[in-house]
């Protein structure tokens, strides 16, 4: 147990912070502490979690990606247009098209980074501008509202009325999110490729000496994020019931902040799916709680920023040292 706490200090402390904030909120507001609200939170956070686990893979491999959110917008547009050509389609064809387009856009980043040795932040800032510029140029900023019915109809997989009158709902976005989370978790912890990604992010030169294919690592990491961005983009269109070209603009920094909050390290080799999900949830819970408390939405960003600063400072000062029940172990540093 002790060693579990030591090796998962970030996850435990995030959980602790979430519990503290939730407790405070449940006293401060009437509606927060209900299952209905909890499931609402999941529905709201689904898209961000899908993005976050994708970005996590890139961070673990030692890269960073600024372009994925606008890439998701590009995917939304192209998918909506392609679905129009093929006469409507359905969830299967929709996910296939969105996923493939996402992978393609992710691979453009990997290609630039690997082939021309451009550092990932510069490469993806460039593609961020290129993708967004192209999108605004070709769409002239016009939104698409006439999406196929299957895409805009809410899909409720499970619903149940609670004794307190609130409704528990599990919607399609949550199911897709859960699948993406499990798939990413499998990839990075259970497959040899995933461990190579960690090793590559941790010590690129060491990984190279082991004969790890560096190019393949970049394409897998950015391709995976592309896949998640594509899927997330389609789900966001479903959730919003429209495609607005700049709807996801700026989302990349929110997601990046949540992933780093979840313990991933800019520089690679570190991060977990659980931490990443908790990071997104912590921010959603805070926003949701502030909302219920009637705090002005203009204050949200400021408070979320402060929470991120506090959390990162704590994790830099080795959270396990702040937890009284974890003793120092001999042999370590």
């Amino acid at each position: 147990m002790r060693s579990l706490i030591r090796t998962h200090a970030t996850e435990f402390s995030l959980l602790a912070v979430i519990i503290v904030i939730s407790t405070v909120l449940s006293f401060a507001t009437a509606n927060f502490f209900s299952l209905g609200n909890a499931f609402d939170l999941l529905n709201i956070s689904a898209v961000n979690i899908i993005f976050a686990v994708g970005l996590l893979v890139v961070l673990i491999a030692g890269g960073i990606d600024i372009s994925f959110a606008v890439a998701a917008s590009v995917v939304q547009y192209c998918t909506a247009t392609a679905l129009g050509w093929i006469g409507g389609g359905g969830w299967v064809s929709g996910l296939l098209i969105a996923g493939s387009l996402g992978v393609l856009l992710g691979c453009v980043n990997a290609f630039l980074i690997h082939r021309f040795r451009i550092i990932s932040i510069v490469a993806t800032i460039s593609t961020f501008n290129i993708y967004f510029g192209l999108l605004m140029f070709f769409t002239r900023g016009v939104s698409i509202y006439d999406l196929p019915d299957w895409l805009t109809d809410r899909v409720i997989l499970f619903e149940h009325e609670m004794p307190d009158g609130t409704w528990i709902e599990i919607t399609l976005p949550v199911l897709v999110m859960v699948i993406c989370v499990i798939a990413t978790w499998m990839l990075i912890t259970r497959t040899t490729v995933g461990r190579q990604l960690y090793a590559f992010g941790d010590n690129p030169e060491g990984a190279r000496r082991f004969g790890i294919n560096i190019g393949a690592m970049q394409f897998i990491a950015f391709g995976w994020l592309g896949l998640m961005a594509g899927i997330g983009g389609l789900i966001q269109a479903h959730y919003a019931q429209e495609v607005v070209p700049n709807a996801l603009y700026g989302r990349e920094l929110d997601v990046l902040a949540a992933v780093v909050l979840g313990g991933a390290r800019l520089g690679g080799g570190k991060g977990s799916v659980l931490g990443c999900v908790l990071g997104v949830l912590l921010i959603s819970i805070t926003q949701n709680g502030l909302n219920l408390m009637g705090v002005s939405p203009f204050a949200f960003k400021m408070i979320v920023g402060a929470i991120i600063l506090v959390a990162i400072t704590l994790s830099n000062t080795r959270i396990e040292r702040l937890l009284p029940f974890v003793g120092q172990k001999g042999g370590g540093r």
């Binding site: 060693s3 030591r6 090796t7 912890t189 259970r190 497959t191 040899t192 490729v193 995933g194 461990r195 190579q196 960690y198 090793a199 941790d202 010590n203 030169e205 060491g206 990984a207 000496r209 082991f210 004969g211 790890i212 080799g269 570190k270 172990k329 042999g331 370590g332 540093r333």
Partner: protein, 504 residues
């Protein structure tokens, strides 16, 4: 002296290299080198930086392909060149100087990492990796929690993890590149024991180290390279450190005690009862004008912490420091520099010099005030200051604007010293000034130190190599566990006695 070898003379060699030539961009890195290792022997590869040791290791492990005509015989087969995969499969392992480990990953994964590379992508078998790791550590007689991330362990244990990794699978020939560079004496002893056990179990070890004492202690034979060519192969029995140095550099070094009496000189630095609990206790010492005081002791004895306190970077809990009779209290190293203290840090590569920047910029960084002209930095003044120090210290450079990283270790160290001299210090603290400097260039550094002392500078010379302080200081202080436990006059004490006290 222990002779750790199970090999007998005349036995068929495990590895035999002949006609090895290697050229990089017109520079011959290896000239017709031959090299031989017997099964189960501990063989030392000696030579200065850039003599071709690493290149030779990379030829044997298949990283480099030697020029045509090369013959590599290994364990009954002949190759024109190796490939990394063949070398690995046939039991040739390397422990690189930088270890090539993954700090964020578990000990088990670090040791059994080959389990997740190569072949087709598949699921990871953590149980199997844990067994492999526990097994490999068991063979070394070490037990670590294999589930903890490697970063939880100190450098000595990481070194062991790197060795365990090399032993996974069948290892017949293990190369160790500077394995003791960052270990303390007792950790080094433990490592040497492991090497002896490996040798006894039939694994041949090729050992590369700058520390000649341990080379003599551990190896049965020594191959010396100089400028990419073979100097010869010598049995370790009957060898001395100074003889190896001569063979490595091609020069003879006449070492003599430089100590002179300085008692008539005024005291520049006076330290009384300086204490910082857990790091150093009750340190009292004086350094006179023109005097060089040597401080030696094992890693972790508190030498560097003491130096940092004198330089204002660590706050002592009690005691006092006086410079030229005036008590000083430093709140930061800026105060110390102003008071005339200069500190040349132990870690020149990462702390002392800014590697990508130019020689000139590195040299003036601590004395920018002097090259101001009308409140702005003056290029003319900078050039003048740099030229003067380059000439004074005999630094061999191309252009002042070249990056510092283009210089050899010895020349970099001269620039680092010049950087501090440019601040006009009264007290110069040199913390292990010869780390990473070739044997040949070390003498040059100490010539400079002697010249500086002659000009009136008070010098504190810190080194974990006792001979360095013995030959170059006027007085030798021995630090252990944060205290000064011995004081010697090199003109009266014998080197062997001091060494015995320090390494005991």
């Amino acid at each position: 002296m222990h002779q750790a070898t199970s090999a007998t003379v005349g036995e068929k060699p495990l590895l035999s290299l002949r006609n090895i030539n290697m050229t990089f961009g017109g520079v011959k890195a290896l000239k017709n080198v031959s090299f031989e290792v017997r099964p189960g022997e501990v063989h030392c590869l000696a030579g200065e930086n850039g003599c071709g040791k690493s290149t030779l290791i990379k030829v044997v492990t298949g990283v480099y392909r030697p020029a045509d005509g090369a013959v590599i015989e290994y364990d009954g087969e002949t190759y024109a060149h190796m490939s990394p995969v063949t070398a690995q499969d046939r039991g040739i392992k390397v422990i690189w100087q930088d270890l090539a480990l993954f700090p964020e990953m578990s000990v088990a994964e670090n040791i059994a990492f080959h389990e997740v590379v190569g072949r087709r992508p598949r699921l990871v078998d953590y149980g199997r990796m844990q067994r492999i790791a526990t097994d490999a550590l068991g063979r070394l007689g070490v037990s670590l929690d294999v589930d903890l991330p490697l970063k939880e362990y100190a450098i000595a244990q990481r070194q062991i993890v790197a060795i365990a990794r090399a032993l996974v699978g069948e290892a017949k020939l293990v190369f160790m590149d500077e394995p003791t560079a960052s270990l303390t004496q007792s950790e080094t002893d433990h490592l040497l024991d492991i090497v002896r056990n490996l040798s006894a179990s039939g694994v041949a070890v090729v050992f590369v180290s700058h520390r000649l004492a341990e080379v003599l202690e551990i190896s049965s034979r020594i191959t010396v390279l100089r400028d990419g060519a073979l100097v010869g192969v010598f049995p370790a029995a009957g060898m001395t450190q100074s003889r190896i140095t001569e063979l490595m550099t091609g020069k003879t070094f006449d070492q003599h005690v430089r100590a002179r009496p300085k008692d008539d000189q005024p005291v520049v630095l006076d330290v009384r009862g300086l204490t910082r609990p857990g790091q150093f206790e009750d340190i009292s010492l004086t350094v006179r004008r023109g005097e060089t005081v040597g401080i030696t002791g094992l890693l972790g004895a508190g030498r560097t912490e003491l130096a940092l306190a004198l330089f204002g970077m660590l706050k002592p809990a009690s005691g006092r420091i006086s410079i030229e009779g005036k008590e000083v209290r430093f709140t930061s190293n800026r105060d110390a520099i102003k008071a005339g203290v200069a500190y040349l840090s132990e870690d020149r590569l990462s702390l002392g010099l800014i590697q990508p920047q130019s020689i000139a910029d590195n040299l003036v960084i601590a004395s920018l005030r002097k090259i101001l002209s009308g409140g702005l930095l003056s290029d003319d003044r900078k050039r003048g200051l740099v030229s003067r120090w380059i000439a004074d210290l005999g630094v061999r450079i191309g252009r002042q604007a070249d990056a510092i990283s283009t210089l050899s270790g010895g020349n970099q160290q001269r620039v680092a010293i010049a950087k501090w001299l440019a601040t006009d210090p009264k007290i110069l603290i040199l913390d292990c000034p010869t780390v990473g400097v070739d044997v040949g260039a070390r003498a040059g550094i100490f010539d400079i130190v002697a010249k500086l002392a002659e000009s009136g500078l008070a010098i504190i010379l810190i080194s974990d190599e006792v001979p360095e302080v013995y030959f170059n200081a006027d007085r030798v202080l021995h630090m252990a566990q944060g205290r000064i436990v011995g004081s010697y006059d090199p003109r009266q004490a014998r080197l062997e006695d001091i060494e015995a006290a320090v390494y005991a």
